[in-house]
Symmetry: C2
Subunit: 421 residues, 2 copies
């Protein structure tokens, strides 16, 4: 199918989806959950074939890891589909409402965006999540996954079509496509037909998409995330949070890359470094860290700006919370940052001062995650400030319209203004 | 001042403004209101000089009209500044909040966007409105008005600086600049420093800005707005609404351009056309309209797509509300459209079917206006669906951050998920 035909089909489907009932949308989600369950062995086999081909063609290991779609992950997606079905339908919600002095009733009512284009690397589970989110929020979507996951994605696309048909919704509401790079470029030029582009993957992918697109793009850039251990922090709690933030899933964007430590804790640096090393983390440190633990390698300016996505952590000693905030705003990526403290004042300085999508107090950076935050899953973590920021849920895939209801009002009988406000 | 120096100063100011108290921001608005009042004669004189220069240099009449900033308009801006001061401060508002099963407290808290760049033609009143909106929403802004309004804008910029200083806020929070076109181009490339661009003016200006900018742009395109008179409409009410929508301010984007009439009203077309003509409106009509009123000029396909901004209206007869919706979605600009009806069903079809930022029932399109909707004024009317749609108020100049507060939670002791949601 040509890019044009795909986009036209999506736009046609979107018009129907905008008016689809909550019941029909939830029925499609449940139908998909049941199909994932019924076809689990085939899905695992398709994924196995993709993995084999990826290994043969020398796909880098971190991409191969992300390509995994085994039994546990399928079961997790089934749970997630049902969580999304259980969420309130955002469409038709009244976001704001007022009655004007002249009797007009004015409301902002949530409506779908229309057609969404998701471009992502490998990761078949995104084909489930993104489809489910777009569907529940009344949008049509075009999902273009990485070629490494092609076989598994193709099968998931087939299951989406069946599930939508079963629920009486347009099959083209979720289109899993395998268009060429030229086809993607063509889609990225279709403003007026496609309403939003969500690229997920490496920095280069996102930058390229943003540059080529004439459609608005929600960017999901890297996460250079920090944990700051404040003067008043309980060190056991702080160490647990830092280890969880670093080691649980070092490959994800909200994993900690740099640990900032208040200088009052200098004497505890050897213990802290040892704890990281015990968990297999290589530590690089600032001068003060190396003074306390001489066999730590030196961290350079580059380290403060690096998203390792690996079992490496940089450690820097700072004089106070303000210095921690400054470091984070200067070197971080405005993604996810945590403070461990018992001081309400320090927490407030950190919360207000750190210019990031997600700011945590006394909790692991791992909780920057749609599922943990009650969104059912997430369609991504926006590093933009416009439209959506941080983990994106259903409502972040919507727009609104003003619905103004009157009984014949004209401005002629309204307090006159100068007409140019 | 160079574009770089302007942007740096704005970014510096933005960091302070994000933490500014509501009282300080309101004090600056009140100080500006008092200055507009105290310096009204000078403002009128500066505007007079601008108008004279514009007339001499052959600026088109519709731009000269928009350049007007006389006593009535200044008084209206003073009222508007006080209305904006009286509005709730959006910054720090909790948009959403939940307590998670593991005890985490998660909130979306409203924060400013940072630095806004407004580019507009003539219209000195925008220098007041946009500055007031950006200030109250905790942003810093760079205001680049048209060169025709330069003298008046320069003086308003001076008054903004004084007002901010009086309130103890950074003077660079509202910078009224007169940079060259090259300087504007330079500013449009400063993503990472400027957070949002809001161009207001003709189609060409907006298109050029959107093409050149690497920063997100909220577009304010044309308004091809409709009034549809349904089968069940009261004709007196309908005529009043159509006349108000067309004639009150034909030069504004939310003025009606095309009137759609249900075919049951064929016999009343001569009266309708006569009413428009009585108000000085030239009517162009479809075949059915011309059959009823033979001396009406023929409307072509082009007419359905034209924003006249003038005392011209196109009239088309349609068989039912669905045809009206289809016409509006096909030829309109997704801006502002009204139905006049006594049928709840037709109103519902129209409301849900018309894909526009503002949909009105039994009210004039003139009410697509921030002041009428209780926003104090408006910074523009977005024709985008992303971030903001329709009349933009204070909250549309904000983003949010997730603030997550815990007591030492790590994901290790949280129901395990697959880590890739």
């Amino acid at each position: 199918m040509s890019a044009r035909a795909i986009a036209d089909a999506a736009q046609h489907a979107a018009r129907h989806m905008a008016l689809a009932s909550t019941d029909a949308k939830n029925a499609a989600l449940e139908a998909m959950a049941q199909r994932l369950s019924a076809h689990q062995p085939e899905l695992v086999q398709h994924n196995h074939d993709d993995l084999e081909r990826a290994a043969e063609s020398g796909v880098p290991e971190h991409l191969v890891n992300r390509l995994q779609f085994g039994e546990a992950k399928i079961a997790s997606r089934i749970r997630s589909l049902r969580k999304i079905a259980a969420l309130p339908d955002p469409i038709g919600q009244v976001i704001a409402h007022s009655r004007r002095p002249n009797g007009l009733d004015a409301a902002r009512v949530r409506v779908p965006l229309g057609v969404l284009l998701c471009i992502y690397e490998a990761r078949p589970h995104v084909t489930v999540n993104a489809g489910a989110f777009c569907l529940k929020s009344g949008n049509a979507c075009i999902l273009r996954g990485g070629s490494e996951a092609r076989q598994c994605n193709e099968f998931l696309g087939h299951l989406w079509r069946e599930s939508l048909r079963e629920a009486g919704l347009p099959e083209d509401s979720v289109q899993v496509v395998a268009v060429s790079h030229e086809g993607v470029d063509e889609l990225l030029g279709m403003d007026g037909c496609i309403d939003l582009v969500i690229p997920r993957g490496g920095k280069e992918l996102i930058r390229t998409v943003a540059e080529k697109s004439t459609i608005p793009v929600i960017k999901h850039f890297e996460g250079i995330c920090h944990v700051y251990i404040d003067a008043t922090a309980d060190l056991d709690k702080a160490t647990a949070i830092a280890l969880d933030s670093k080691c649980l899933m070092p490959e994800v964007c909200n994993a900690m890359e740099t640990l900032l430590v208040h200088e009052v804790h200098r004497a505890h640096l050897p213990d802290l470094v040892a704890a990281f090393r015990d968990h297999g983390v290589t530590v690089r440190g600032c001068a003060a860290t190396r003074k306390a633990v001489p066999d730590v390698a030196a961290a350079t300016e580059d380290d403060w700006r690096t998203e390792y996505l690996d079992m490496i952590a940089a450690v820097r000693v700072v004089p106070d919370v303000n210095a921690a905030v400054d470091h984070i705003n200067q070197y971080g990526s405005h993604h996810t940052d945590a403070i461990v403290t018992d001081s309400a004042r320090a927490a407030c300085v950190f919360r207000e001062g750190v210019d990031s999508g997600v700011v945590l107090e006394n909790a692991s950076t791992m909780f920057c995650d749609g599922e943990s935050l009650g969104m059912g899953a997430e369609i991504g973590i926006s590093t933009d400030k416009i439209h959506a920021r941080g983990p994106m849920g259903l409502e972040d895939l919507t727009s609104y319209k003003f619905v103004i209801r009157g009984s014949g009002q004209t401005m002629g009988d309204y307090p006159r203004h100068d007409g140019e406000s």
